[in-house]
């Protein structure tokens, strides 16, 4: 009897998910969009911060260290509060976003997630820089390369292989961190979970498993991509 009942519930859960699959996919897409954009921005920002931290100009080094120190030591939820609540209060509301059909809350979330993640990207890249023998950079400077050329043409390409594994972990952490955006009005996977549990608590297990699988698929894709990249780099050496 109990077996039949739970069986019915499972069937009901699957039916419910099928019925709601559009909402689920919307949520998944929200998480993908948020992670992808924040991933790209945090990588660019992280590269800049890492370069600042090894720059010959003391002011840039201090600024880079301060940026990392500040955002790395602030809880992500606070960073989200800072962008989604404090920025509008001080008048930064991205009014132009509405006009082109962008959700301002999404923009705030992207800013929060990218600034926070950029510190970790910067540190991973910086440790990669340190893995390249000093003589490589000295030789580059000796032929007359500027600081930027030395990093771009000599140090970074050699640091890449060391940097990939920690970067992969970081992007995975970032995808999961993106769940916090739910509390700041961004439609994504965790918000789908929250909304559907509120409306249909009887399907809790089905909802939970679906959402967890959604995250697992995304993070496994990141792992696979990075494994592939690592192997590619290993071969060309």
């Amino acid at each position: 009897m109990a077996l039949a009942e739970s069986g019915n519930l499972a069937v009901g859960g699957v039916q419910y998910l099928w019925q709601e699959h559009n909402a689920f996919l919307d949520g998944l897409l929200g998480t993908v969009k948020l992670s992808l954009i924040a991933g790209i921005l945090s990588t660019i920002l992280g590269l800049i911060v890492a370069a600042m931290r090894v720059s010959p100009i003391p002011a840039l080094r201090i600024a880079g260290t301060a940026w990392s120190g500040f955002f790395r030591n602030t809880p992500l939820t606070l960073v989200f509060l800072g962008t989604s609540v404090v920025l509008p209060i001080v008048g930064i509301r991205f009014a132009w976003a509405d006009a082109i059909g962008l959700d301002t809350f999404f923009i705030f979330a992207v800013i929060a997630l990218s600034t926070y993640t950029s510190c970790f990207v910067a540190d991973a890249i910086r440790s990669g820089f340190n893995s390249v023998p000093v003589g490589q950079a000295e030789a580059a400077r000796a032929v007359g390369m500027t600081f930027g050329q030395t990093l771009r043409l000599v140090v970074l390409p050699q640091a890449l292989r060391t940097v990939l594994p920690p970067l992969a972990s970081m992007y995975i952490a970032m995808i999961k961190n993106s769940a916090i955006a739910e509390f700041f009005n961004v439609g994504e996977l965790t918000k789908f979970f929250d909304d559907s549990v509120r409306d249909h608590p009887e399907h809790l297990y089905a909802e939970f498993i679906a959402v967890a699988l959604g995250y697992i698929v995304l993070t496994l894709l990141v792992s696979a991509a990075f494994n592939l990249a690592e192997r590619k780099l290993a071969v060309t050496r």
Binding site: R141, A142, V143, G144
Partner: protein, 264 residues
């Protein structure tokens, strides 16, 4: 294996060295590493076409001296000029000046992720913005000159130390520098590979290249140098022609140093 483009000159002392204008001038240069005063009021002038060999016991500051000339080591006080221009502190000016000063390191420092040919071509293309085809031709000629043209498509790790160092010399020459700095170029080499590198350097000296060479190779100093500079404890203790220096050293430090290295 070594280059055969130049017959080894028995009298490589070139006439230009006697008359050339000062190219690299160090005036009252001081440098500290923490409490250690590694360069103490160094004054040195190297003329165009001159080959100056810097020798001295380890820790005497000779490598540091060499590295200050393209500002891989910044100095605390004094001035360094290269063809009349004071070394800029940082930025594009310094990069441009460095591009005119070739440097060869003890540990070769070839770009590990680039092929031999790419190593030689990278500077002229990226720093001087020269055309790839022109640079390729020059790079291949240089690799032929140093005797490693047949390794052009390999990576540095696939070459022997002696070959790598000869590529490093070609890489520096590709920038068509006014002066070449050699920072103990044979110290990291197996004994049987030292001569192939010294041969290239001797031929370069014979061609009239201005060279500042930090080395322990006394044979090279005798053969190719116009002047030997002897350093100890951060100071230039004595300088003279190789002949005078090796047969008749004036200072006690130099006599002591030479007696230690020439007895075995």
């Amino acid at each position: 294996m070594a280059t055969e483009t130049e017959p080894m000159a028995s009298e490589p002392t070139n006439p230009a060295a006697a008359t050339g204008d000062p190219l690299v001038v160090l005036e009252n240069v001081n440098k500290h590493f923490g409490p250690l005063h590694v360069l103490q009021d160094i004054n040195l002038s190297v003329r165009t076409g001159e080959v100056v060999v810097v020798i001295g016991p380890s820790g005497s500051g000779k490598s540091t001296l060499c590295r200050t000339i393209n500002r891989l080591e910044p100095i605390d006080s004094g001035t360094i000029t290269v063809s009349g221009e004071v070394l800029p502190e940082e930025g594009k000016g310094l990069a441009r000046l460095r591009s005119e000063v070739g440097m060869v390191f003890q540990s070769f420092n070839l770009f590990a992720h680039k092929t031999i040919l790419e190593n030689v071509m990278l500077g002229p293309i990226k720093v001087r913005k020269e055309k790839s085809a022109v640079v390729r031709e020059r790079a291949m000629a240089l690799l032929t000159r140093v005797g490693v043209a047949n390794q052009a498509d390999k990576y540095p790790a696939q070459l022997s130390g002696g070959q790598q160092q000869r590529v490093a010399i070609a890489r520096a020459l590709a920038m068509q520098p006014k002066v070449m700095l050699f920072d103990e170029p044979t110290s990291a080499l197996d004994p049987e590979m030292i001569n192939e590198v010294l041969d290239v350097m001797t031929s370069l000296a014979g061609d009239g290249m201005t060279m500042i060479v930090v080395t322990h190779e006394m044979g090279f100093a005798r053969r190719a140098a116009n002047r030997v500079v002897f350093m100890a404890d951060g100071q230039i203790v004595e300088q003279n022609t190789p002949e005078e220096f090796f047969t008749n050293p004036q200072s006690e430090r130099a006599q002591d140093f030479l007696s230690k290295i020439l007895t075995h």
